[in-house]
C-alpha cells in the first residue's frame, strides 16, 4: 500500500517538474506573445494592455500557480489566437492519437510475444531472422516507413486513400481504412523493438533453474513455456510494453504529420510553429499524463503478475 502511494507521489512530482520547465520555456517571452496576438499595428501600450489581459505581466511562478489551479477545475486556458478553450481543442485531438497508440500497443503485444517466444524457444534460423528483422525494424525511423507506405498506396497500388482521417462516428469502415496504414507504420518499429526485448526476457527466464526443475518433473515443454515461462517473463515484458508506449507517443507525432491525422502531435507541432503557447502547454500536459498513467498501470500489472512485488 505504501509502495503504491510512493509511486503516485513520484508520478505527481514528475508531472510538476516537467510542466514547470515547459511552462517557463514557453511563457517566458511575455511581450513577444502579446505582440504576436495583436498583430503588426500594436503599440507598446497595446502590448502592455494585452499582456495584462492575458495575465502575462505577472511573475512566472504566479502564472504557473494559476495554471495549476485551473488544471484542477479542468480549465487549461484559452488559445491566444482563436480564443477557443484549450480543453476543447485537445478534446477532439486526444481520441485520435489515443486510438492510434492503443491499437498499435495491443497489436505489438500480441505479435511481439509470439515472435519473441518463437525466437527464444526454437532458436536456429528463426532466431537469426527475428534478430535481423528486429535490428532493421528498430533502426528505420517511423516516418520513413510511413513515407514508404504512402508511396506504395498513393502511387503504386491505389488500394485506398493513403492519407487523411475519417472519424469513426462518420463511418467505421472508413475509419478503419484510414487508420490501417498509420498503425502499420508505427507497428514495424514497435514490434521490432519489443520482440527483441521480449526474446531477451524469455531467454533469461529459460536459463533459470526452476525451468529445468519443471522439465524434470515431466511437465511438457509446451506447458513449461506457455504457463510458467511466460508468467515469469511477463514482468519484464510489461516493462517493455510501457517503454514502448513512450516510443509510440513520440513516433505518433511523425505519423500524424505524414498521414495528416488530426491528432495531438499534429496540434502540438502546428501550435508550436504558430506560437500558440497555451495549446502547446496543454498538449505537453496530456502526453505526460498519459505516460505517467501507463507507467502506473504497468507497475500495478507487474504487482499482479509477480507475487514477490506484493509484499514489498
Amino acid at each position: 500500500m505504501l509502495g503504491a502511494l510512493k509511486k503516485v507521489v513520484r508520478a505527481v512530482a514528475v508531472l510538476l517538474v516537467v510542466t514547470f520547465v515547459s511552462f517557463v520555456l514557453m511563457f517566458g517571452n511575455g511581450p513577444g506573445i502579446a505582440r504576436a496576438v495583436l498583430g503588426t499595428q500594436a503599440t507598446e501600450a497595446d502590448v502592455h494592455t494585452k499582456m495584462v489581459q492575458l495575465g502575462l505581466d505577472q511573475p512566472l511562478l504566479v502564472q504557473y500557480g494559476k495554471w495549476l489551479g485551473g488544471l484542477v477545475t479542468g480549465d487549461l486556458g484559452r488559445s491566444f489566437f482563436s480564443g477557443q478553450t484549450v480543453a476543447s481543442a485537445l478534446a477532439t485531438r486526444v481520441p485520435v492519437t489515443l486510438a492510434l497508440v492503443v491499437l498499435t500497443l495491443v497489436l505489438t503485444a500480441v505479435v511481439s510475444v509470439l515472435v519473441g517466444v518463437a525466437a527464444a524457444v526454437y532458436g536456429g534460423w528463426i532466431d537469426r531472422v527475428v534478430q535481423l528483422l528486429a535490428v532493421m525494424g528498430a533502426a528505420i525511423p517511423g516516418f520513413i516507413v510511413a513515407i514508404v507506405l504512402v508511396f506504395a498506396f498513393a502511387i503504386a497500388v491505389r488500394l485506398f486513400p493513403a492519407t487523411g482521417y475519417v472519424s469513426p462516428d462518420q463511418s467505421v469502415s472508413g475509419w478503419l481504412a484510414s487508420i490501417t496504414l498509420p498503425v502499420l507504420a508505427l507497428l514495424v518499429g514497435s514490434v521490432a523493438s519489443a520482440a527483441a526485448q521480449f526474446r531477451g526476457a524469455v531467454l533469461d527466464t529459460l536459463s533459470r533453474d526452476f525451468v529445468r526443475t519443471l522439465r524434470a518433473r515431466g511437465i511438457s515443454e509446451r506447458l513449461v513455456i506457455f504457463r510458467h515461462v511466460l508468467r515469469t517473463a511477463g514482468g519484464p515484458g510489461l516493462t517493455v510494453l510501457s517503454l514502448q508506449t513512450l516510443a509510440l507517443l513520440g513516433g505518433a507525432i511523425f505519423i500524424e504529420q505524414v498521414f495528416a491525422l488530426p491528432g495531438l502531435g499534429q496540434l502540438g507541432v502546428a501550435s508550436a510553429q504558430q506560437g500558440d503557447v497555451p495549446i502547446v502547454m496543454g498538449s505537453v500536459l496530456v502526453i505526460i499524463v498519459f505516460v505517467l498513467v501507463v507507467n502506473l498501470l504497468g507497475d500495478l500489472a507487474n504487482v499482479a503478475l509477480n507475487p514477490k512485488a506484493r509484499t514489498r
Binding site: N29, G32, I33, R35, A36, V37, G39, T40, Q41, A42, D46, S79, F81, S82, G83, Q84, S88, A89, A91, T92, R93, V150, A154, P161, A162, T163, G164, Y165, V166, Q257, F259, A260, P262, L267, A270, Q273, Q274, G275, D276, V277
Partner: protein
C-alpha cells in the same frame, strides 16, 4: 504539408490580419424578410476542404479561406471581382464627392440570430472595434442619424471607400463590447453555426439561415468545412468524395487533373521582391536605381514560369493585375533577362562587389521553391542573400517592421488596383515596410483622390510607370492558384476581389 498554414496569397492573409479585426455587425435575420421563398434548386450538403484552420475567432477570420466567417456574418456591402460594391446588409449607399464619407442605408427588419436588430448602432460598434486595430479605419467617425442609416467619415479622402465597406462584418454591439467572439457567433449571414457538429481545428458545420435576405444565392442547406492541411490528404479526400472542393498547388495539379477533378485557375498574385529601401537608408546600394534595375535583369521570368511553376504562371513585368486600372497593356519588359548587362549596371553604380541582403522567410509561403533561384541569381551580382526564417510569436511583426528592407512574397494583386497602390506603394502602405516618402507618388495619389474617373485611371497608370521605371519591385511571375472540385459541382468563376478562391456564393 507545405501548405499546412496554407497561403498562396499570404499577402492577403496579412493585409487581412489588418482587416480582420474590424468588421463587426451581425444582422440577424430571424424576422421574416424579403426572401421567404426557397432558393433555386436547393441542394443538401456542400463539403469543402480548408487548407488552413480558422485560428482566430470567427469574427476576425481573414478573408483568405474565410468561408466560415462569410457564412456566419453579413458585411455592409459586398465587392465583386473588380471591387465594385454590391448590396448586402445595406441596400443603398452614397459617397461624398470628396470621398471622405460614406452613407449607408441598411435593410429594415433584419435581425441577428439573437434577435437584436441589424441597425446603425451595430455598424458603429463594428467600426469602433476596427478603428484602433486597423489602419484602414484609423480616426474614422460614425454618425447614426437613424437606426437604418450610418455615416462614416474619414479624416482624409479615401479612394477605396467601397472596398472598405465590404470589409465591415456585422455583429451585435453586445458581442463586440464583450470581445468574446468564439464560442457562440451571433451573425446575420446566410448560415448559422451548428455547435454540436463543429469541432475547432477539424470540422465546421453550418446550417442554412432560411430567412436570409438573399438565401436563393446559397442553395445548399448544409455547409461543412473540413480542415485538411496536408495537400496530399486533401487530394485524397477529393478523389474519394469526402470533400467537394479544395485549394491545391502545382504539387498535385497533374494528379488532380488525371483523377477527373475540375480545376478553376485563379490569377490573383504576383510573385515579387519588394525593394522598399529606395532611398538607400538601410542598404546604401538599394538607393541607386541602377542597382534595383540590375536586380530586375537577372531573372529569367519565362524559365521560372515554365520550370518552377510547371507552366502555370505568366511572366510578370508589373505588379498590377492584368485588367486592373493601373495595369498597362502590352508593356514591354524594360528589364529583359541579361546577366551581363546587369553586372555592367552594378559596376556602373559602383557596386560590383555587391552587398549583403537578408530575406525573411516563413513556413507555407512557397519560399522553399523560390529562394534557391533568387539566391543564385542575385548571387551572380555578388548580392549575398541569407535567409532569415521567421517563426513564433514575433514572425509577422518582424516581417512588416522594416527590419528586412527587401521581403519576397507571392503577394496578391487586386481587381481594384487602388488597393495595390495603397498597400504596396504609398508611404504608409502595410507592405512598404520601410515607409519612405516619395514626392511623385504623393502627388499622383492626391490626383487620384481628387480627380474624376478618367484622371484616376491615368494617375494609376502613371504610378505604375513610375514604380516600374524606378524599379521599386522585382516582379517575376503571375502564378496561378488552383481550386480543384468535384466535377459534378457547379462552381461559377470566383467573384473574390482578391481572386484567391471561389466564394460561398459561387458554389451553385
Amino acid at each position: 504539408m507545405r501548405r499546412r498554414r496554407g497561403a498562396l496569397a499570404a499577402s492577403t492573409v496579412l493585409a487581412a490580419v489588418v482587416t480582420l479585426t474590424a468588421m463587426s455587425g451581425c444582422t440577424s435575420a430571424s424576422t421574416p424578410s424579403s426572401t421567404g421563398a426557397a432558393g433555386s434548386g436547393s441542394r443538401d450538403t456542400l463539403t469543402l476542404g480548408m487548407t488552413a484552420d480558422v485560428t482566430t475567432s470567427y469574427f476576425e477570420t481573414p478573408s483568405y479561406q474565410g468561408w466560415v466567417a462569410d457564412a456566419l456574418y453579413d458585411s455592409v456591402l459586398q465587392c465583386d471581382a473588380l471591387g465594385r460594391p454590391q448590396p448586402r446588409a445595406a441596400e443603398k449607399w452614397e459617397f461624398s464627392t470628396d470621398n471622405t464619407s460614406a452613407t449607408v442605408h441598411l435593410r429594415s427588419g433584419v435581425k441577428f440570430s439573437d434577435g437584436t436588430p441589424v441597425d446603425s448602432a451595430a455598424v458603429k460598434a463594428a467600426v469602433g472595434y476596427a478603428e484602433p486595430r486597423n489602419a484602414r479605419f484609423a480616426k474614422v467617425k460614425v454618425d447614426t442619424p437613424d437606426p437604418q442609416t450610418a455615416v462614416l467619415t474619414w479624416p482624409t479622402p479615401q479612394p477605396l471607400l467601397a472596398i472598405k465597406l465590404c470589409d465591415i462584418r456585422l455583429t451585435t454591439p453586445k458581442a463586440i463590447s464583450a470581445a468574446n467572439f468564439s464560442d457562440n457567433p451571433v451573425g446575420s449571414g446566410p448560415y448559422a453555426l451548428d455547435p454540436q457538429a463543429t469541432t475547432r481545428g477539424s470540422v465546421y458545420t453550418l446550417v442554412k439561415n432560411e430567412s436570409y435576405w438573399d438565401s436563393k444565392t446559397y442553395p445548399y442547406k448544409k455547409l461543412v468545412l473540413k480542415v485538411i492541411t496536408s495537400e496530399t490528404a486533401a487530394l485524397n479526400a477529393l478523389k474519394t468524395g469526402q470533400i467537394d472542393g479544395s485549394l491545391i498547388t502545382t504539387a498535385t495539379y497533374n494528379e488532380a487533373k488525371a483523377s477527373g477533378l475540375k480545376i478553376q485557375a485563379l490569377k490573383g498574385n504576383t510573385t515579387r521582391l519588394l525593394v522598399t529601401d529606395h532611398l538607400g537608408k538601410k542598404i546604401p546600394a538599394l538607393g541607386n536605381v541602377d542597382v534595383r534595375r540590375a536586380m530586375n535583369m537577372v531573372f529569367d521570368k519565362g524559365a521560372m514560369a515554365k520550370g518552377l511553376y510547371q507552366g502555370h504562371a505568366e511572366p510578370a513585368v508589373q505588379i498590377f493585375r492584368p485588367g486592373s486600372s493601373a495595369h498597362i497593356e502590352d508593356l514591354q519588359d524594360p528589364y529583359p533577362y541579361n546577366v551581363e548587362a546587369a553586372k555592367a549596371l552594378m559596376a556602373k553604380a559602383g557596386y560590383a562587389d555587391g552587398f549583403n541582403l537578408e530575406i525573411p522567410t516563413m513556413e507555407g509561403q512557397n519560399h522553399e521553391l523560390l529562394l534557391p533561384v533568387v539566391t543564385q541569381q542575385l548571387g551572380l551580382l555578388n548580392i549575398k542573400v541569407t535567409q532569415k526564417p521567421l517563426s513564433g510569436p514575433n514572425a509577422i511583426a518582424d516581417l512588416l517592421s522594416g527590419k528586412f528592407p527587401v521581403p519576397m512574397w507571392q503577394l496578391g494583386n487586386y481587381g481594384e488596383s487602388l488597393q495595390d497602390i495603397q498597400d504596396y506603394v504609398l508611404q504608409d502602405g502595410i507592405w512598404n515596410v520601410e515607409h519612405q516618402p516619395d514626392a511623385t507618388v504623393a502627388k499622383l495619389w492626391s490626383q487620384i483622390l481628387t480627380g474624376n474617373d478618367e484622371q484616376k485611371v491615368a494617375a494609376q497608370k502613371e504610378i505604375n510607370r513610375y514604380v516600374v521605371d524606378q524599379a521599386w519591385f522585382v516582379p517575376m511571375v503571375y502564378p496561378e492558384g488552383f481550386y480543384a472540385y468535384n466535377a459534378k459541382l457547379n462552381v461559377k468563376p470566383s467573384s473574390d476581389f482578391a481572386a484567391l478562391h471561389p466564394l460561398l456564393r459561387d458554389f451553385q
